[in-house]
Amino acid sequence: MSNALAIKRISATPTPPPTIRSSPEYAKLVDIARCIGCKGCEVACKEWNELKVEPTVNFGSYQSHEDLSPDTWLLMRFRETEIDGNLNWLIKKDACLHCEEPGCLYACPAPGAIVQYENGIVDFNQENCIGCQYCVSGCPFDIPRFDKTTKRVYKCNMCIDRVEAGLEPACVKTCPTNAISWGTKDDMLALATGKVETLKERGFANAAVYDPTGVGGVHMMYVVPHGNRLAEYDLPEDPVASPGPIAALGTVKKIGSYLFGFGIVGALLHLLAVGPESPENESGVPGGN
């Protein structure tokens, strides 16, 4: 957990965050229309974060790994698809979106295992993680990955150490075509709007910014050329921070806490009202009488 950054939320910690500092909100903007799928960001991510090499096998794709993993926080996903009769080779940077309403953090039972900073970064602190993986099921984008050896969950931390030092994340720094931009959320939204206009001029009538409101907006936004075909990019149409069962669980837990309380208090009151009940002619104490 960074002590230098203003904290917004801490997992399993209902008390207010221990800071009064404020910070501008930052965001990454991934312009899918500029991305050439070179995977430079994948390597930059691994190098900066000193992540392990995973021996991979070509599975019939340009994609390096079939899925994200504890050692691969960023994955370029490749998909060939025909849209309106035209062949498209969709290449999407898959990594944590750093939601404003982080489903992972809400699902996490371990105090301090997940921290959201005022700057928008949602960071996992493995020293506080208990390995329950509730965050995995809490994430609407299927990002966190559990490591079987360390029994902890890992994901992109937006290069928080770089950001803390005033630098952009490693993936942004390395991108050769400037497909990834970095700045305040407001600036990135403005940039994204301009990019969408450019795309529309280029004939992408459905170009859109991906900044879903269901999770309060994200801090890795996308400019999506085919904004009406989000599924093709593996982007959920309408992600929510807490799915139905989690919301229901919250309610039931609240009711449950009262019931447990009533149960214990009720038993006490009952004891005081009617007292213990023993056989009349026996002490009831083994060995007695």
Partner: protein, 210 residues
């Protein structure tokens, strides 16, 4: 055995009871720690959150095994009959200690039988949902409902906990301070005739013929 004592539980029954009982309390406390941030400190009793997360499912396995034995041992005695329905109808008198208005209970009253069934059914729920929650990565891929499945498992797991937990409060209360002499049945297996006559008159009659 003294003349005023009756054997209520066998050695095997007592062992099984305490295996299930102790593991359940462990599971309940660690489970509550996972459910309520304010109770997360409970995990420090077993060595911290990560240890609790590792132990909880393993203890759950012991609990499940114990529960299986318990079911095998007791299931024949736990079916509710018409008599039990009468007993349940009179439960407010039972609570108020108005013995004369409560139909005489057998070895187990309807409340105990219900507790048994709640535990048994919950045991199945705990096992199924618990396994999924134990290895979520193994089930994410099979997830037919999207990421809702694991959340639903958490919901069901909690519901079962709530049911069993509330019964446990009643069970412990009645078995200790409310009905002195009860706990002994689960320690050396014996109860007094007076206790039996008071709490389980029908069973007392069957055992003593009086």
């Amino acid at each position: 055995m003294r003349a005023n004592e009756i054997q209520r539980f066998t050695y095997a029954e007592r062992v099984v009871h305490w295996v299930v009982g102790v593991t359940f309390v462990f599971l309940l406390l660690t489970g509550l720690a996972f459910s309520y941030p304010k109770l997360f400190w409970l995990t420090s009793l077993v060595g911290g959150g990560a240890v609790a997360r590792v132990l909880h499912p393993w203890v759950g396995i012991v609990f499940t095994v114990g529960l299986v034995f318990m079911v095998v041992l007791w299931i024949r005695e736990m079916f509710l009959d018409r008599h039990d329905v009468e007993w349940l109808k009179a439960i407010r008198h039972y609570v108020a200690h108005q013995r004369d208005k409560v139909p005489p209970a057998g070895k187990y009253n309807a409340g105990q039988k219900l507790f048994f069934w709640v535990q048994s059914v919950s045991g199945v729920v705990f096992l199924v949902t618990g396994l999924l929650l134990w290895f979520p990565e193994g089930f994410l891929g099979l997830d037919p409902f999207g990421r809702g499945t694991l959340s639903a498992m958490r919901f069901l797991h909690y519901l079962a906990t709530l049911g069993c937990g509330l019964f446990l409060i009643v069970h412990v209360y009645l078995g200790t301070v409310a009905y002195p002499g009860t706990a002994r049945g689960m320690i050396d297996g014996k109860v007094t005739r007076g206790w039996a006559k008071l709490h389980h008159p029908q069973w007392h009659r069957e055992k003593t013929g009086s």
